[in-house]
């Protein structure tokens, strides 16, 4: 009887491992392909996609850095994504604090109002946004771009942060009130430090969102000095074919920053996600 149970559980384990290995292949495959392709020429990429390069073309990385104007675009992307996250955290934590802790007539309505924002597909509002950007002469305005990112990321951020803050034990705030703390002190000295895992989650998601976004800068930024790196990658795409080697090299360079940031905040992101999910 015991043996049967044991063999059943090992069978299950084998099944789980096979599934996990397959998932690893699915997720790692494209990364390996990108890395290998970044060192090959066009013909070799399609002839032997997963094989090692016959000749390691380091020159792809040099071409990528020069042709995608990566020096400038890289800094622009860091500025845009960093500022987006900064403003977003500032605004969304305050909104979340009010929604999670204050009881007033419009509380639920505001919560739903923000939630509705998550349901608007970006493409449906492109034309009015483009019209507003044109009417107010905001083309090539980095701050307008940052505000767009902030606006589109607010609903998700407020949703996650509100859920998280609702789960924080109220007795901590009561203790702070007894000690004479005002609302802003409670917000900044009690709620914010306790919300760090959720803030990390929101920051990472929104940093990646702003870093990878192509559509808004494509439509609203045409000054080469202001373009982000996502637009730089388009430099390798032509109507009649693309240079995939340098493109893949550029992708590897582009991915480095989000990858490092993710590694740095990985633990907090995961705990933030889990907390938000359970306590929401």
């Amino acid at each position: 009887m015991k043996k049967t149970k044991k063999s059943n559980s090992s069978m299950k384990k084998v099944g789980v491992y096979i599934f996990l290995i397959m998932m690893v292949l699915v997720f790692i495959g494209p990364m390996v392909f990108t890395l290998l392709s970044s060192l090959k020429g066009n013909v070799e990429i399609f002839d032997n996609p997963f094989g090692l390069p016959k000749e390691f073309l380091i020159s792809n990385y040099i071409t990528a850095w020069k042709e995608a104007n990566m020096g400038t675009y890289f800094l622009n992307s860091i500025l845009i994504s960093g500022a987006t996250v900064g403003i977003l955290v500032f605004v969304s934590t305050m909104a979340a604090y009010v929604l999670a802790r204050f009881k007033f007539r419009l509380n639920k309505f505001l919560g739903i109002f923000f939630l509705l924002g998550m349901m608007i597909p970006m493409h449906t509002i492109l034309v009015p946004v483009a019209y507003i950007i044109g009417a107010f002469n905001l083309k090539n305005n980095i701050f307008a771009l940052i505000l767009l990112y902030v606006a589109f990321s607010l609903p998700f951020s407020i949703f996650v942060l509100t859920s998280f803050m609702k789960g924080i034990n109220a007795s901590l705030e009561e203790a702070a009130i007894i000690d004479g703390a005002g609302y802003f002190q409670i917000y900044s000295k009690v709620m914010l430090p306790l919300t760090v895992p959720a803030i990390s989650t929101v920051s990472i998601f929104n940093f990646l969102g702003a870093w990878n976004n192509v559509l808004f800068p494509l439509l609203f930024i045409n000054d080469n000095k202001l373009k982000p790196i996502s637009l730089g990658l388009l430099n390798f795409n032509g109507e009649r074919g693309s240079e995939y080697g340098p493109l893949m090299a550029a992708i590897i360079i582009t991915v480095c920053v989000p990858f490092i940031i993710y590694l740095l905040f990985q633990e907090k992101v995961e705990s933030g996600l889990a907390a938000g999910a359970i306590k929401g």
């Binding site: 042709e67 492109l126 034309v127 019209y131 950007i133 701050f143 494509l218 795409n237």
Partner: protein, 441 residues
């Protein structure tokens, strides 16, 4: 207390926004200051990316800017099709159309012409004969939109979409000459399969490839005027003769003419198959000549030849009705004064005989001009053959959907043709396409 906190929070937020905003405004003012008196010319074409022809395009823009210090050129061209479409649609809808742009199709231009968005080029042609007379008549006429007087696009790139084939593989398969007729094509396919070669490299994931194959078949079966009849609805996609054109595509598929897994392959993959000698034929345009004649790209650089798509024995009258590519440049119809003057000057520079000579000699790209003085030594034999063959067409059409007023027909026709590679019948494909037309009525 609550009100004070709320006020404080609002103030803090406002201050932060103002602080960030003021920095940006300063930057903007500075940049505007230097460009205040300059004329801005924006371009949105597909000439972007690493190709030599895109490089020549950028060089001409730079030359123009050097010649006119009071002009700033903003080239927003996008090689990537979806980026291009997103940008063009948004610019059109929000009223910020560039000075020079490109729209695919002919009949769907009507709406834009009505709104004054596209400039009539006929007076410009008339005004500057030296520039306009060198342009090929057929290509210029292609942009005479049904129902409107005038010409609404300047043709900037053209050439036969023919069959490039590997002579060495044909010899190996025992095929003496390139098949001229449909029956000969089917024989050749069988012989090529016998020596384990892919007869026709086609990657239907890049749906235009399936579209180009069907275009060729349709023009050889119904003539190059058929797209106009489909566009003005005097012919239906479900008409027997149109369904037949789809069934010929299906017939090639059933014969095993395409690579395995054709529906999932992209153009890059099948071009590589052709360059490596795994495939014997590919239907494409002159833009790939550079690759086909490059010693670095293929060991068959001396063996690749061009031919027209085989005709049907029953329809010899359409033997020389061919698919050609014609890429236009359009001008914003709302321009005035100095901006209009400079934009037209730039357009002429981009489509001049000098530009055409450069495109031909440096990028092996064909321009629809008959007054180019080419240095034959600088041109590959394959390029010269393509030019010669392009000149023998008695009927020319680009894409089947070009004369359809429905913009969605590009995707609909191509997707339905590809649908036949995953199980649909020609009749089903035709019904799907016709349903799109009927839906709009």
């Amino acid at each position: 207390m609550k009100k004070i906190i709320a006020l404080f929070l609002i103030l803090a937020m406002g201050l932060s926004i103002t602080a960030c905003g003021s920095k940006d405004t300063t930057e903007k003012d500075t940049s505007n200051g230097s460009n205040n008196d300059k004329v801005e010319i924006r371009l949105l074409t597909r000439s972007a990316g690493p190709s030599m022809s895109a490089q020549i395009f950028r060089d001409i823009l730079k030359e123009f800017e050097d010649k006119h210090p009071d002009v700033v050129i903003i080239d927003e061209s996008q090689g990537d099709e979806s980026s291009f479409n997103n940008k063009l649609k948004t610019d059109m809808a929000s009223g910020t159309l560039p000075n020079i742009f490109r729209i695919q199709g002919v009949s769907n231009l009507g709406e834009y012409i009505k709104n004054g968005m596209i400039m009539d080029m006929a007076p410009i042609y008339e005004e500057d004969k030296e520039w306009s007379e060198g342009l090929t008549e057929g290509a210029v006429n292609y942009y005479k939109v049904p129902g409107f007087d005038g010409a609404y696009g300047v043709p900037a790139e053209s050439g036969l979409i023919g069959v490039f084939y590997n002579q060495k593989i044909f010899d190996e398969a025992g095929i003496d000459k390139f098949p001229e007729t449909w029956t000969e094509l089917k024989d050749a396919i069988a012989k090529l399969k016998d020596i384990n070669k892919i007869p026709l490299a086609l990657g239907a994931k890049s749906t235009y490839m399936a579209g180009h194959l069907h275009n060729n078949i349709l023009y050889k079966w119904l003539g190059a005027d058929a797209p106009k009849k489909l566009g003005d609805r005097s012919m239906k996609w479900t008409d027997e003769e149109v369904v037949e054109t789809l069934s010929y595509v299906k017939e090639l598929y059933d014969l095993g003419a395409f690579p395995e897994g054709v529906a999932g392959l992209s153009d890059d993959i099948v071009i590589t198959q052709f360059l490596k000698g795994e495939a014997a034929m590919i239907i494409t345009g002159p833009w790939n000549i550079n690759k086909f004649t490059s010693e670095e790209e293929t060991e068959y650089y001396n063996d690749i030849k061009i031919a027209k798509f085989p005709y049907f024995e029953e329809k010899p009258e359409f033997k020389d009705h061919d698919m050609q590519s014609i890429n236009p440049l359009m001008v914003n119809g709302k321009l005035e004064g100095k901006e209009k003057e400079y934009t037209i000057e730039l357009l002429k520079m981009l489509t001049s005989a000098d530009a055409a000579k450069r495109y031909a000699e440096e990028a092996q790209s064909i321009f629809p001009r008959n007054n180019i003085d080419l240095d034959e030594g600088a041109l590959s034999q394959l390029f010269q053959d393509v030019v010669e063959l392009s000149g023998t067409s008695t009927g020319i059409a680009v894409d089947v959907f070009d004369f359809d007023p429905l913009a969605s027909m590009q995707d609909r026709t191509r997707n339905s043709i590809v649908g036949m590679f995953v199980g649909n019948t020609p009749q089903q494909a035709a019904e799907e396409i016709q349903a799109e037309v009927d839906k709009s009525n």
